[in-house]
Symmetry: C2
Subunit: 378 residues, 2 copies
């Protein structure tokens, strides 16, 4: 398995990207599966997308983050039209009178890892290796761009019907989130978001770097373990810097569509070494808190609570959780940029409605054996 | 009293405009009083705004309709910042890369008669004598621009905090209404809307003409009657083409803020010739249906149900309705453009949730003795 940075994204990277980003999605970020099928159809003919490192960006590059907004449960039930993301980009470009030079993931987790690939193909732009979360989070103000002071507008929104909106002059990421979330609900529960256009200097200062390469290499390792009859869950834990938190059977899923999100919780009965113990996970699109039967918090945001199939390490997203699945829960330490005091104000337990949960970081380092890919903040 | 078309709007027109537009507002369109104070402060130094007739517009003129959106009850409780309307115009201009050449009222009723005057002063543009309703209506798709096929976007929205949004590529006025209404609620219940930019040819084809002059002359007539100790209610009825439907005392007001509108109904006990009879009016920002005690419909949208003070003919808007007020209710026939079969689909009783109410047009002609001002469709 390679731990090299990607220089181009090719067809054969799509399957591992879907697996790696699915794990990093912690249940959210949209379906990697549907987005993967969409770009695979284009890239199977040999089309590649150039990938550049944040360190290589010119100061005056204009990088557009992009991704789908909405509940993942809606994302799998309502097919995309295919041009939403690029239409949202064109709306921002039309409004600002500027053209983007690169695309980047708003969040590397789940299907949104592939969203910028779709636009890169449609608009003929290179990708930046990185994202704004190092995982997926449910709300827009929860990205490192916003946390570290990049102006959150102008942004463009578009839906499956071709409708377009641009928001501007909004200084608070919370307000952008509120406006866009509500519009997304009006648009049927899901929409595409692109923007704000960020300079190369801003990306270098604020992005979580190398996460596109990290997701692909993590997925490759899982696939390699499956092929070699090694334990894919153990492989995923080791390569990502994570640790196995429990294995178990899902005994209950309570999932509702509330205010534009898939919210709920699930219960798990431990298996193997965890036999005889019960666990519970709360989620808001993404998994937020893992507790044991005594109510003690074993892992919480911003650390990654990744539910995967116990045998194959295939990531299990919020919309596919169901009774009876046998799963492993891997905890991965948050990347540094989302675990600073200022970041915890926005993505710590209290920001998700858990003021009594103290964030106790997991041991280890985001990236694990692949840490050199993401430890590129120079 | 003059029945001449306005060539300029001057300070001394503001008081009559507020009265005339208040009557034509049928309860809605926002407070004429607050908007009047705002522009009077600017225009008292002698600043005038040029007024042009629709017939004088060049084909390639770009006319921007503008007005406040939201419940009138919010409009009087939450002060405007003053630049919302022009900021919404600038957002559309920035997005389209075009500059407006003229301003026009989205609705001549209520405070929105003065909204384009505010922008005209701030942006240095002339006004077009006309509007998109000949009155006020609660929803955006209810204007003649939209009814007669003008593309409803791009439009700009802005709020008191300076936030800006642009909507585009939306072919249905209902969808624009839904998106903007929801955003307005998120913005606190009120916002400014400007756009779409319309050509001179489109305005000539779709606008209700001459209504700025009509509103000013109607208000002048009410003021003249007060001064001459004639009956101002009778004067208002005659000059507007209306008829007195009842006089009475408000005995109950049920008004709620629902889905961004002031909705409710009021009960009236007849006075004078109407003594001993009870009446009821339903409203959604604007007055929709007047019924007698047997439930028979005496007047309904799109005809104008205008509640005025019984003594002074001062218009009484939805947000100032209260128990004990002695009022007269004047019915004014709808202007032709909002009473055609295609218009009734959008602004007839069924469109407001009264499928069982058959629209029976009032006798007479919108404009009455002033009809030559608004009968300028050549």
């Amino acid at each position: 398995m390679s731990i090299e940075q990607l220089r181009t994204l090719r067809y054969e990277h799509l399957e591992p990207l879907a697996i790696g980003a699915g794990i990093l999605g912690t249940g959210g970020g949209g379906s990697p599966y549907l987005n993967k099928i969409f770009v695979a159809e284009i890239m199977k003919s040999g089309i590649e997308v150039p990938v550049v490192q944040a360190s290589e960006l010119e100061d005056d590059a204009l990088v557009a983050p992009t991704g789908g907004v909405g509940a993942p449960t809606v994302g799998v039930e309502r097919l995309k039209q295919g041009e939403e993301l690029v239409r949202a980009l064109r709306a921002v470009e039309k409004y600002t009178g500027k053209r983007a030079t690169h695309m980047i993931s708003a969040e590397i987790g789940g299907g949104n890892s592939i969203s910028p690939v779709i636009v890169a193909l449609q608009a003929g732009l290179p990708l930046v290796d990185g994202d704004g979360m190092g995982r997926a989070f449910p709300e827009m103000q929860m990205d490192t761009f916003s946390i570290y002071g990049v102006r959150p507008t102008p942004v463009g929104v578009s839906d499956v019907r071709g409708h377009v909106a641009v928001f501007d002059e909004i200084s608070s990421g919370h307000d952008v989130e509120r406006y866009v979330r509500n519009l997304t609900i009006q648009m049927g529960g899901g929409a595409a978001l692109t923007g704000p256009l960020m300079t190369g200097a801003e990306i270098r200062r604020t992005a979580v770097r190398g996460t596109l390469s990290f997701a692909v290499r993590l997925g490759e390792e899982v696939m390699a373990a499956r092929k070699a009859h090694r334990d894919p869950v153990e492989a995923a834990s080791e390569m990502s810097g994570g640790q196995l938190l429990m294995t178990g059977k899902i005994t209950d899923v309570d999932r509702r569509f509330v205010a534009g999100f898939a919210r709920g919780h699930l219960k798990l009965a431990g298996t193997n070494a965890y036999e005889g113990h019960d666990y519970a996970i709360d989620f808001q699109n993404e998994n937020l808190v893992l507790r044991d039967e005594a109510g003690a918090v074993l892992c919480s945001v911003p650390d990654l609570i990744c539910i995967v199939d116990a045998e194959t390490a295939e990531p299990i997203s919020t919309e596919t959780l169901r009774y009876g699945l046998r799963v492993a829960v891997i905890g991965i330490p948050a990347p540094h940029l989302i675990a600073t005091p200022e970041a915890l104000e926005v993505v710590g337990p209290a920001a998700f409605g858990y003021p009594d949960v103290e964030y106790r970081p997991l041991e280890g380092e985001y990236g694990g054996k692949l840490a050199e890919l993401v430890r590129t903040t120079a």
